[in-house]
Symmetry: C2
Subunit: 155 residues, 2 copies
DNA sequence: TGGACAACGGATAAGAAACTCTTATAATCT
DNA sequence: AGATTATAAGAGTTTCTTATCCGTTGTCCA
């Protein structure tokens, strides 16, 4: 019941990029260094994000990565699904054939609903929300619980 | 972002056992057969459930497994945590040392809250709730969406 | 046109987790 | 004592995670 490290890396890299205007180029090298992320692994994560347009990649000298759109239009659901694939919560939701009771089974119904709850949470938070919260944390203008409540309010 | 198959097996076995009074003995063999579950794997799952008292194991002839308490007092959180261990959602919540920003990092705050949402859902559903829903599904007295709403209401 | 730089793609691999099966042991009943 | 059942330990297989490395390709610039 855990999101992979790759998602963690992806979010951190995106937050670093979000610090500057959308078109700005960021080199893999710099992102890895600033965020303390494994360079050779991060490139695969960014590739996944590029596939769905969350970031854009540019080859050649003066290449690098840039955000594909403004942070307020990048939801955590998009990030998680781009990197980890669809959120399923339970295997029978991922693959209906793995269960011969498909749709007529109470546990499945429950986990399907749990999935919906999780997706709503992930959809209601954008990169911009995380940025804003981080800024408040850094300023010391938000206690941790206030910050939490702030995120919940929307979900 | 998935619960393991072991949890699925555990829930199914528990539902089979819940069909009869609490003290009733159930043989591993029968549970595996009735639920179409892998016998040799199920034994490990039941072992985990026995460790926390959700089921009781009895050795020797006429042994078998029995429920440790009534289904209405077994929450899905208890089952999931007994089998899969604590729900963490993100590695830095599992192990604070894995992140040098512990507590001062917006993503962590978000995932900590997501975890709370998931735990609430898992806590608010008991084995008895699943049983009731299954009965309604079998009777055809509940459409799938009604059943879903029924579970959500509590969460 | 050629060299330097940066992402791309594929191969590889250690490690953990998930899953299955086997074998031997201990407890209990008849 | 003998049959039956859970318990314990372990090996083995597969898959996923988390990387690392290297040759290739595309792009810019001098």
């Amino acid at each position: 019941m855990q999101v992979t490290r790759a998602v963690d890396y992806g979010i951190r890299a995106l937050m670093l990029m979000s610090g500057q205007p959308v078109g700005t180029r960021h080199f893999l090298q710099d992102l890895a260094q600033q965020g303390d992320l494994p360079r050779n692994y991060l490139v695969k994560v960014l590739k996944s994000l590029a596939c769905v347009g969350i970031v854009r990649s540019h080859r050649g000298i003066k290449g690098g990565f840039s955000l594909g759109r403004v942070p307020s239009e990048i939801t955590l659901r998009q990030v998680v699904e781009a990197i980890d694939g669809p959120v399923h919560v339970m295997h029978c939701i991922a693959d209906a054939r793995s269960c011969n009771l498909a749709g007529r089974c109470a546990p499945e119904v429950f986990f399907r609903e749990l999935r919906a709850v999780i997706l709503r949470s992930l959809e209601n938070s954008t990169l911009q929300d995380l940025l804003d919260m981080q800024r408040r944390i850094d300023n010391g203008t938000a206690c941790e619980t206030c910050a939490e409540h702030d995120l919940v309010r929307k979900a």
